[in-house]
Amino acid sequence: MPKTFSPAVMTANDLLEGDAVWWTGAAWSRDLAAAQVAETPDAVEALSAFASSAALEAQVVGPYLVDVTLASGAPFPTVRREAIRADREPTFAYAPEPLEKAA
């Protein structure tokens, strides 16, 4: 059975800082909500080709595409691993100096 189509976003880790980042269409953001969503098979193919372009190497490590659902309006990953990445922290209280997130 062919895979059902799923919209996708492009993610990677920032080269200098290691943070999970998402491609907005113009830049890399630390906020998944700002990501550019490829909503058609053609758009996903174009984004996928872009993910493998060498030019990205200067800013990020290992770009790849992540399936998302738009059910809530904003993109949200369909797999737990990516949901944890999108949250940018472990799922439990982990540090005396946790990440300061923008409100």
Binding site: G18, A20, R81, R85, Y94
Partner: protein
């Protein structure tokens, strides 16, 4: 403790400087990520889900107060205020920035530390007994052997690009606290009938997706032959181990496929051909290393401390901690204490910078400036006067480091799992936290007695689940976390690989499953029988029956 000579210091400083250059070239674009990746891994820098991770070597798990303070400094200055002690006696920092790593390596080098041999397909940091040098049942301090192996293996030109990583553990005691039977090579220091010190050597143990117990290749190896013999073992593996499939590339697969007899034949042949004298260290170097592990200047004390005995009577919480976390020392009047990094509600193996500083201060004042990291993700104070134990315990308690649970159901070993790790298929730490919360009542823990639960978040088994009395393996089943349970594993001298109970449990149900297993044990045990003894007596069937009865 071992101290660097000029060669060690120059080697570590050079590597830090070299890595600074490599990072600069990656950032300037003259190295691609593909070129840079193996270089960063050789220096302990991984990329995880949220950030880079730096794994720092703690050779044979031994740390001074100054070194622990430096780890605290790094946690605070470059990370988020904590570090994670691992099942290989190392520490991981979970949030360093690549641009800061060269500075971190310089800071580490200033206290004779580094991140070399913590990654890649090389001979990794050699691990050892956390009670080395102080255990009453010890033949010889195994760290002397571990340090020899470190010097031989660092930069060994023939073994820098092995087919896969290679882990060696050394114990000097009959009771195996270093899990030598589940290492690529396990070494036990022992004495023969003539009173000479030598080694028993095991090969082909390991966990991961194909768990195996190591097999004895030599029941007796004269001390002077150690490095030539290891060289022969590694050479046969390096030449004949599989490189076509990463999952079949560890030495355990080679030993399994050839059979121990044929592998041994090839090793003995290679060993006979080696010019052992050019490989074995010279006597002066051995003496230099040994001198660093000479016992510290213990005071001549009565074995019994009046103050210690009185405080045990007067303070039940202290007595409970002593009962679980304090161990016999070979020197009269001294004791060994385990600092549990497993408080209920915490993440197994994590310590804050403040806690690290407190441990450093206690080690300096009360433990002859030594600390040990254990493969069970705890920290050991090896040299405490019994009459200072109460004061030490009070200081630990002030930092939340007084959990009296060493070896009990809440002393859970867990890998970082899907909360941090790129390879993980399921979360581990939250599972450990749920189980610890369920069993948090100290009286219940005491009633259950010795029980090791080990949790891995993927098949690679960093949480050593195969050798937990109860092992938990987190997998991904069509996007849902599923936890497989094994019973009867054992990491000690009576090592065994746990047996699967059957179908896995959901994240929500796994704690209930563990509770059912424990209840079955409590119901079926004979007087004085531990969980493992009970399992070995009655077998899987009854556990399985109660476990799946409700399903």
């Amino acid at each position: 403790m071992y101290r660097y000579d000029e060669f060690d210091a120059a080697f570590v400083a050079d590597r830090a400087a070299e890595f600074r250059g490599q990072v600069a070239r990656r950032l300037s674009g003259s190295l691609t990520e593909e070129e840079f990746r193996p270089l960063r891994l050789m220096n302990g820098v991984y990329l995880q889900l949220h950030a880079y991770m730096l794994r720092v070597a703690i050779p044979y798990g031994t740390l001074s107060g100054a070194q622990m303070r430096m780890l605290a400094h790094i946690a605070e200055k470059y990370d988020r205020g904590y570090g994670h002690f691992t099942t290989r006696q190392n520490i991981q920092f979970n949030w360093p920035k690549l641009k800061d790593v060269p500075d971190i390596l310089d800071d580490l080098a200033s206290v004779e530390m580094h991140a070399i041999q913590t990654s890649g397909n090389c001979i990794r940091n050699t691990t050892s007994d956390p009670f080395a040098g102080v255990a009453p049942d010890e033949v010889e301090d195994p760290r002397m052997t571990a340090e020899l192996i470190r010097q031989w293996s660092s930069l060994h030109p023939e073994f820098t690009f092995l087919g896969r990583k290679f882990k060696i553990a050394v114990t000097g005691a009959e009771e195996d606290r270093a899990a030598i039977k589940v290492h690529d090579i396990g070494i036990q220091v022992l004495k023969n009938e003539a009173g000479q010190t030598g080694y028993r050597v095991l090969v082909g143990g390991g966990l991961g997706r194909t768990p195996m117990i190591g097999k004895v290749i030599r029941n007796w190896l004269p001390k002077a032959d150690l490095l030539p013999y290891l060289e022969a073992c590694l050479r046969v593996y390096n030449l004949n181990g599989r490189r076509d499939n990463k999952y079949k590339a560890r030495i355990k697969i080679l030993v399994h496929e050839l059979g121990i007899d044929e592998y041994k034949r090839q090793v003995e042949e290679a060993f006979a051909r080696l010019d052992g004298e050019t490989i074995a260290p010279d006597a002066a170097e051995v003496a230099r290393i040994e001198s660093y592990f000479a016992p510290p200047a213990y005071e001549a004390l009565a074995d019994e401390s009046v103050l210690f005995e009185r405080m045990k009577r007067e303070d039940a919480a202290f007595a409970a901690w002593v009962e679980r976390n304090v161990h016999a020392h070979r020197t009269p009047g001294y004791a060994v204490a385990t600092i549990s990094l497993k408080p209920v509600g915490g993440a197994p193996g994590d310590a804050t910078a403040e806690q690290m500083r407190a441990m450093a201060e206690i080690a300096e004042r009360h433990s002859m400036d030594e600390l040990r990291v254990t493969h069970e993700q705890n920290v050991v104070l090896p040299n405490i006067r019994k009459d200072e134990l109460y004061a030490v315990w009070r200081k630990l308690a002030a930092q939340g480091l007084d959990a009296a649970n060493k070896g009990l159901v809440t002393d859970i070993i867990a890998c970082p799992g899907l909360d941090y790790c790129n390879l993980a298929t399921a979360r581990s730490i939250p599972v450990a936290q749920m189980i610890a919360e369920r069993f948090k009542d100290p009286a219940l823990q005491q009633k259950i007695g010795p029980l090791s639960i080990k949790i891995s978040g993927c098949i690679n088994a960093c949480g050593h689940h195969h050798v937990g009395h109860i092992g938990i393996l987190g997998l991904d089943k069509a996007g849902v976390e599923s936890y497989q349970i094994t019973l009867g594993g054992d990491a000690t001298e009576t090592a065994a690989i746990g047996e699967r109970t059957g179908p896995g449990f959901s994240f929500e149900d796994v704690t209930d499953a563990i509770e059912t297993l424990v209840a079955t044990y409590l119901d079926r045990r004979l007087a004085g029988e531990t969980f493992l003894q009970c399992y070995r007596r009655i077998g899987m069937a009854e556990f399985k029956e109660t476990l799946y009865a409700a399903a």
